[in-house]
C-alpha cells in the first residue's frame, strides 16, 4: 500500500503537503513524532521560520500566525498541510474500516442517499474523513468561528453537500469546502477556508 496519496484535484496552489512514515513500533509517540516532522517540513516549505507547533490546552495544534495548517496521522503515516494566508485548514487521513453501522451513526439519511456510492461518488470512509477534516478546520477558525472548540460540538454534526466536484461541509451556517482523494485502503480529505 502506498503511504502517500496524491493531493486531491482542486486543492488550490499554495497548499503545502508533507508526508512522513510512522516508525515502529508505531505507537502514540512515534505517530506524534511523524506528525511533528511533517509539520516542520510543511512550514519550512511554506516560508515560515517558526517550525514548531505547540498544542492548545484543548489539544488543537497552534500554527504560526499567517500559516494555517493541520495534521493527521494513522498508525503508519502522518501528513501535514499548510496553506499560507488561509483562514482555516483541516486534514484527515483515514484507513479504518467504516462499517455500515458506523456510517449510519455519522452520516445523515440524506448524506448516505446522495453521497455514498453507487448514487454518489464517495465511500463511507471518504465521508468520515471529510467530516473530520471539516471539523478540524471549523474548530481552528478564529475565536472558534462562533462554533466553539473541539469540546463544543461533534464532528458528525457537520453536514455535507455536493457542489460540482467538491464537498461543502457546514455547521450552524459556517461552511468550508472539502476535497477528497480516495485509494483502496486510504482516504485523504482536505478542508480549506480562505
Amino acid at each position: 500500500m502506498s503511504l502517500q496519496l496524491t493531493v486531491p484535484e482542486g486543492v488550490a496552489p499554495g497548499a503545502h503537503f508533507q508526508w512522513r512514515p510512522v516508525r515502529p513500533p508505531r505507537g502514540r509517540d512515534e505517530q506524534s513524532a511523524a506528525g511533528r516532522a511533517a509539520v516542520a517540513a510543511a512550514l519550512a516549505e511554506s516560508g515560515s521560520t517558526d517550525l514548531v507547533v505547540p498544542r492548545e490546552p484543548d489539544g488543537r495544534p497552534r500554527f504560526p500566525p499567517g500559516f494555517a495548517g493541520a495534521i493527521a496521522h494513522t498508525d503508519r503515516v502522518a501528513v501535514a498541510v499548510v496553506v499560507p494566508g488561509a483562514e482555516a485548514v483541516g486534514v484527515d487521513i483515514e484507513d479504518a474500516v467504516i462499517s455500515p453501522r458506523v456510517a449510519r451513526f455519522v452520516l445523515r439519511d440524506r448524506e448516505r442517499a446522495a453521497l455514498l456510492r453507487p448514487a454518489g461518488a464517495y465511500s463511507a470512509r471518504d465521508l468520515f474523513a471529510a467530516k473530520e477534516a471539516a471539523f478540524k478546520a471549523l474548530c481552528s477558525l478564529g475565536g472558534g468561528g462562533g462554533l466553539g472548540g473541539p469540546d463544543q460540538f461533534l464532528f458528525w454534526w457537520i453536514e455535507l453537500d455536493q457542489t460540482d466536484a467538491t464537498l461543502v461541509a457546514s455547521y450552524r451556517g459556517v461552511s468550508v469546502p472539502v476535497w477528497v482523494r480516495s485509494e483502496p485502503r486510504l482516504s485523504l480529505a482536505v478542508a480549506i477556508r480562505r
Binding site: A96, S99, F105, P150, D151, L154
Partner: protein, 80 residues
C-alpha cells in the same frame, strides 16, 4: 458507575487488544488525548448501544463522550 466503567473498558480492550494502551488509560483521561481515534470512538459508541441497550441521541453533550468516566456517567443517567 463502577460496573459501567468496567464494561466500557472491556469494550475498549475488545477493540484494541489486551496489551494495548487501554490498560494504562485512566478513567478520567480524554479518550482522544489517550489515543482513541475518531473512528474508534464512534465504534465504541455503537458498541455501547448494544452493550447497554440504548441509542445515543443527536443532541448528546460532547463532554459526555470525553472519557470512560463521562461515558459511564451518561449510562448511569439513563432512565431505568
Amino acid at each position: 458507575m463502577v460496573e459501567a466503567r468496567a464494561r466500557i473498558r472491556a469494550l475498549l480492550l475488545d477493540m484494541f487488544g489486551p496489551d494495548s494502551f487501554v490498560t494504562e488509560l485512566a478513567d478520567t483521561v480524554s479518550l482522544r488525548e489517550g489515543g482513541v481515534s475518531s473512528a474508534a470512538l464512534v465504534s465504541l459508541l455503537v458498541a455501547m448501544e448494544d452493550e447497554f441497550g440504548f441509542e445515543w441521541q443527536d443532541d448528546v453533550a460532547p463532554e459526555a463522550l470525553r472519557s470512560i468516566s463521562s461515558l459511564a456517567g451518561h449510562v448511569a443517567s439513563l432512565p431505568a
